[in-house]
Amino acid sequence: MPVGFLLFFFAWPVVAILLRGIGEGGLAETLFDVRTWRIVGFTLGQAAAATAVAVLAGLPLAYLLSRLDVPGRGLIRVLVTVPFVLPTVVVGIAFRALLGDGSLVAIVLANAFFNVAVVVRTVGGLWAHLDRRAEDAARALGASRLRAFLSVTLPALRPALGSAAAVVFLFCSTSFGVVLVLGGARFRTLETEIYLRTVQLLDLPGAAALSLIQLAAVVAALAAGAAARRRRETALRLRPADTLLHPPRGGDWLVVGAALSVLIGLLVPVVTLVIRSLSTSTGFGLAGYRALAGEPADGVLAVSALDAAVNSLRAATDATMLAMVFGVLASVVLARTRRRGLAQLLDGLLMLPLGVSAVTVGFGYLITLGALPDGLRSSPALVPFVQALVITPLVIRMLLPVLRAVDERLRQAAASLGASPWRVWREVDLPMAARSLIASAAFGFVVALGEFGATSFLVRAETMTLPVAVARLISRPGELNTMTAYAACTLLILVTAAVVALVERIRLTGGANALGEF
């Protein structure tokens, strides 16, 4: 079923638009152009740098949240997730204000800013369950803290790190709004170039050539990530998370310090946005917030920003449910498939939507879905489907490391005691994966809330989502429109924070029992 979904909503439109470009000829011209390869180099380089920054910044936070018993963990977890949903154009503007424009550093930091949450969530999910006795043993045998981390903990975390890095790399190499706002025409990535050629120039052969290169790069990155995971994705000793928490001591305080610095770094752009939502030319004011609830500002939007927030919640809920069904099914199949090659192929296929340009998918819909009866192409249900396409790979990346880490002997033992496959899943896999399951649903939901690229292609005036509303408001002159855009952004932050906080609560109250002892 996940594969069918993928073929219908992803492969068909993408292949159709690529074939159309290839059919027009002139593909080779772009492929052999020196400038094309300069763009490829820049795309991969900035993505690699941003991935490295995101991983380094994410690790201390992941440790803090999964191991240390410090007050305010729930709040920190909520705050860390907020950047991920902010509209790229607004974050681009915030970074421009903070760091100046046209700089490579700003692009790298902005891309990393968005993705720290991926690292914290993915790595933290596994870290929280790692049995720390191996690490303790190493310490008892005289290994330094760093040595124990490097030789015991880090290898155990590698599957999750590989997953996180692969996802972050894909997000960064296809990031669009950030590069456009911060780089202008000076810094161009494959994604912005595909957008320009498709949307502005209708140069389909050129766009197809670039899409093929992007696809090849994505496949290569996925293969490299899979290779890195393969060696290490073996059964680990997983423990219920709560037994592992301890108050910070000794060197832990260094990690706490690092984590808090990262957190402050993440909050600065967010606070900048909130301040701008309150700034008028004559001091602070609430005009932007009043415009949120009232009449659509100046007729810019067909619905009020509050309605847009409700639309966002609806679409994101539908998308999350779809993605959970597909993601869990796919993860179970992938975790159980014994033929490594097949599992990797499927795994790779399911990740591809993260690496293909939203413009390519969106324009692909135009020429494929029109062939279907009665305008599915413009159905409001399409938005959640497309958002699900973006989230499903994330769900898989968060679940699979945990499911693969479940000791197969436990399943065999259960089966030999007469448990049905469903019972095995319920008694063995589910308790282990419950935490990651909830975490991935929450994360997926939040990603869907903030999704802009594909949504902006499909959304209708009356079903407008919040990120799309922000983008429309900010592209208008006038102080009130600008303030309303930032106020809508603040609303998006609040909605996100509320959702994440709610899930955290569910997890804290229900989680302990669900995890149980085993």
Binding site: V89, G92, I93, R96, A97, D101, L180, V181, L182, G184, A185, R186, T192, L196, T198, V199, Q200, L201, L202, S279, T280, S281, T282, D298, G299, V300, L301, A302, L313, R314, T317, D318, M321, F363, L366, I367, G370, A371, R377, S378, S379, P380, A381, P384, S456, F457, R460, A461, E462, T463, A471, R472, S475, R476, P477, G478, E479, N481, T482, M483
Partner: protein, 347 residues
């Protein structure tokens, strides 16, 4: 959460309205900037029996290319928002069903596309015009602390060393007003001179941003962003949005630097409701719709008998002699011009 979800997938969003067999649903495809007065549209729906279904997607360029790609299976009945930069491409691709509205004689005809035949000229009807012009921050130039430089009056001033580091423009490759401004300089200085002019701008410290939003809301000193630069590429209508509490506009447009963009509407070839589509065009050209485009979309109506809002008369009058290049010339040269611009300005 689940309660919200189920109604969104199953119920299919907002109500479709009653299934009145006499009611016709006409799909209007348009760009993100389309904005209108609810009451005016409701009145039209009431009197015509047409239910207007508005679908917005992207900017003028994206809209045009969307239409070209979906030509064999059109995504709507009528389009609004194809502009003069992109019009000839869409006409060439056979996207439209020619229609000449009776209301076109009231002003829209002034902006008719010059074509080889009537079919080309009637493919699209002009609905509004927008002018891209340099805008300046009046207060900045009036402030003695800034060196008492006189406000610039035209293109030439911007390469004068007095105005060094004062200008910000959006990139023509990624921004439609950015492209319009480049076209304005091409029209003004001609094929031989425009490149030199831009080399001069570059040497005089012009700043280039990816889009209009960054240039206007962040670098321009006259907007809410209160940036450092007092000269920006924006619209002739922008000053109407920057009226201070004293009722005086804080910015003004340099009316000798304007480039005119006309926005058109057309019936899509293969439309399911061609008659309804034609009625929608008549509506877009009607007095009630035209009289609210200024406040809703920051553009000027094409009808001659429609007055501008009072604040516009003072702050943002329609420029009298804007430049414009023929649509087919723009279409033929755009890519080369932008590429040349990149080489000159970004190196």
């Amino acid at each position: 959460m689940c309660a919200v979800a189920s109604c969104s997938l199953v119920g299919g969003g907002p109500d479709r309205g009653p299934d009145d067999p006499t009611s016709r649903r006409v799909v209007l495809v348009t760009h993100d900037s389309f904005a209108y007065d609810e009451a005016v549209v409701a009145e039209f729906e009431e009197s015509s029996g047409i239910e207007l279904d508005v679908r917005q997607s992207g900017d003028a360029g994206e809209l045009t290319n969307t239409l070209v790609l979906s030509r064999d299976n059109p995504i709507g009945d009528v389009v609004f928002g194809v502009d003069s930069t992109f019009a000839s491409r869409a006409i060439r691709e056979g996207v439209f069903e020619p229609y000449r509205s009776p209301a076109a004689a009231d002003g829209a005809d002034r902006y008719r596309i010059e074509g080889a035949d009537d079919e080309t000229a009637d493919a699209l009807s002009a609905v509004d015009v927008g002018d891209v012009c340099l805008n300046i921050d009046v207060d900045w130039f009036a402030d003695p602390a800034n060196g008492g430089i006189a406000p610039p009056t035209g293109f030439d001033d911007l390469v004068d060393p007095d105005y060094r580091d004062l200008t910000v423009v959006p990139d023509p490759a990624t921004s439609s007003p950015g492209l319009a401004f480049q076209l304005a300089t091409i029209e003004h200085y001609g094929d031989d001179g425009w490149a030199d002019y831009w080399a001069g701008l570059r040497d005089n410290g012009v700043k280039v941003t990816g889009g209009w939003t960054e240039a206007y809301t962040q670098d321009f000193s006259g907007s809410s962003g209160a940036g450092p630069r007092p000269i920006v590429v924006s619209y002739a209508s922008s000053p109407a949005a920057e009226i201070g509490e004293d009722g005086e506009p804080r910015t003004t447009a340099l009316l000798d630097t304007c480039y005119r963009q006309v926005e058109y509407a057309g019936v899509l070839a293969g439309a399911a409701e061609p008659d309804g589509a034609r009625e929608v065009i008549d509506f877009l050209l009607s007095e009630p719709f035209q009289s609210q485009v200024a406040e809703n979309m920051y553009v000027y109506p094409v009808r001659e008998d429609v007055a501008l809002p009072e604040s516009w008369e003072a702050a943002a009058p329609l420029p009298e002699d804007s430049a414009a290049l023929p649509a087919d010339e723009v279409d033929a040269n755009r890519e080369d011009w932008v590429e040349q611009w990149r080489t000159i300005v970004l190196g």
